[in-house]
Structure formats: C-alpha cells, structure tokens
Symmetry: C2
Subunit: 197 residues, 2 copies
C-alpha cells in the first residue's frame, strides 16, 4: 500500500491549486478571480474541442495530460501574470522547477518521472504537443477578456504586440485559430481594450 499512500497524498495536495488565484475573472460567478484548478479543467477541455484545427496531428491525450498538470507547480510557486517583466518571469521559472521536484516528487518514482518530464516538455515548448498545449493556454484568456470588455488587459494596460506575441504559436500550428485571434485583437484595439502598440 505504500505506493497508494504516496498517490493519495499527491491527490490530496492537489486540492491546494483551488486556492491559487489568477488575473482572469469568472464573469458567470460575480466576477470573482479564477483559480488555477478550474482554469486547468477549462483549457484541457478546450484543447480536446479544438484539436482538429492543429495543422500537424497532435497526440490529444498527451496534450490533455500536459494541460491537467501544467499549473500544479503554482501550488508552491504561485501564479505569475503572463505579461510581467522578464526578470520576474525568469525568477518565477526557477521557483517552478523546484516546485515540480517537490510536488511530483510526492508520487512513486515512475509517475514522478512521467509527470516531471511532461511538465518540462510543456515548459520548453519544442514538440508539437507542447506547442499546441501552450497555444490553447493563451487562447482561452483571450476569449475570456473579449467577453469581459478587455478584462485583465485593461487593468494591466497590455499592448496589442504583447498579445500577438503570446499567441503567435498559433500561426503555423493552427492557421484558422490564428486568423480568429487576429480578428479579435483588432476588435479589442478598436474598443480601447488593448493599447495599440
């Protein structure tokens, strides 16, 4: 039962991701902040629904696993706003590597290796699966901000070029989605939700 106990400890520890809050607002729940656990559910399902737009075939069950686990490190490292400055982002990355070791390290060795490698693959964004997962992770906040009169973009005075850059993965990966994103960004600039720079 030792392995099972390790696994159950990890599963219980996951509960803490429900207390890590992000910059996005949940419009349908009184505009409270969104937490990283419900966000992870939302993007995993989004990836499943949109995976046929990928120009190159993705392994959707690997992508789903990546997205289910991609934010777990925030239990220790906290969430960092995607448009923070470079120094803050680099420091965050160091914290997340330590967090991954501790958190996935609660699991039996074999599962630790699987999850840690899958998480690193996501972070490095070199494989098609990881790049598609990253692309989905950026498109959802865009959809949310578009339904929230600009949402976190307005609060943090984000530029059009920052959002373009963050979503650029889509260009080669899923051209139809990229086209959609460009149209939305133009509309957001017109509305004054994004700074035209």
């Amino acid at each position: 039962m030792q392995e099972l106990n390790q696994q159950l400890d990890f599963i219980i520890e996951l509960d803490r991701l429900k207390g890590v809050y992000r910059q996005a607002l949940v419009k349908s729940d009184k505009n409270r902040f969104e937490n990283s656990a419900e966000h992870s559910w939302h993007i995993t399902l989004t990836a499943h629904i949109l995976h046929e737009y990928a120009a190159e075939k993705v392994n959707i069950s690997r992508v789903m696993c990546m997205l289910l686990i991609h934010d777990i490190v925030e239990i220790d490292a906290g969430d960092m706003f995607a448009f923070s400055d470079q120094k803050a982002l680099a420091y965050q990355q160091d914290k997340e590597i330590v967090a991954a070791e501790r958190l996935f390290g609660l699991l039996p060795e074999k599962q630790f290796q699987t999850f840690n490698q899958l998480w690193l693959e996501f972070e490095e964004a070199q494989t098609v699966d990881a790049r598609f997962a990253k692309a989905i992770d950026s498109i959802l906040p865009l959809l949310q901000n578009m339904r929230n009169e600009g949402g976190s973009w307005v609060r943090h005075k984000v530029n059009k070029s920052q959002v373009m850059k963050r979503n650029r993965f889509l260009e080669g990966l899923a051209p139809d989605l990229w086209l959609y994103v460009c149209q939305q960004i133009d509309y957001a600039v017109e509305q004054g939700w994004l700074v035209d720079a």
Copy 2:
C-alpha cells in the same frame, strides 16, 4: 468559421460550471464550497493517477474525457447531493438529460454526438470505462471528507451503508482501492463521522 463559432460559444458557456457549487469543502481555501469545474479537474487527474489499479484494463483517455464532461449538465440542472432521496435523484436525472441536449447541442453535430453519448455512457455505468470513472468520482469525496473530520457526511448525517453502497463499484473493479475505502469507512465510523447504520 461557423463550426469554430459554435465551438467557442460552447467553450465560453463552460465558464458557468465555475459558479455551480457542491457540498464538498475546499480545506486549503478557507473551507469554502467546492465548485464543479475544479472538482472535474481534480477527479480527471485522480483517474489518471489511479488507473493502474483497475483490474480490467480501462481506456484512460476515454475515462478522462468522461470525467471532464460528466458535470457539465449541472450548468442547467444544478448539483444534487449524492445522498439525496430517490425521488429527488430521479427528478434530477430528467433535468440532466434535457441539459445535456441543450449544452452539448451548442457544438457542431459530430461533437454533440460524441459528447452526449460519452455522458450517457457515464450515467448508465455499464461499461468498464464508465464504471471506473464513476468509482473515481465517488472515492475523491471520501478522501476529502476524511481530511475534513467527516465534512459533508457529518453535516448531512450520512450512514456507513450509504457510503459503502456508493463506493461498491470499486469492489470488483479495483480491489486494492476497495480495501482502502473499507478501512477508511471503518475509521470514519469510529470517529463518529458516519452513522453506524
């Protein structure tokens, strides 16, 4: 772009599951109630971590899909406490069937069929995949209640026999997990968290 627009409407509609609250408490976030979106994330990952305990091989990516979508009907139908009376549960079932038609119906026809069938398969609990998914959906509340001095069991004066019945799927499906659950239930009775009946 018509299909994409249908898919994005569905994805945005999913946001509402973050505002559907369950009986479980999130201990690590000031004991607030848990919502069905973060719950769906938690059990999907739990299924992945524990699927090697299944006595018969399950198709884990189907199980994960089932668990990601199993509570979406609650957007229209609301959550019902697992130990409500039979009449309330039957009425809930009718509401959920209508909800599934409307919600999955936002998607293009092919995805509507896939998701609606997968959800029905989960509800009917006849296949190995569905039964394993159901078993995981019952074991997680047990783990949560054990870490919360009985949690929702205490508030609703739940009997040992009700919890045994709800988890009985595990007996044949995953004997090691069933053994663990039995031990936990005995401990809960000793502590007075479950009524010994």
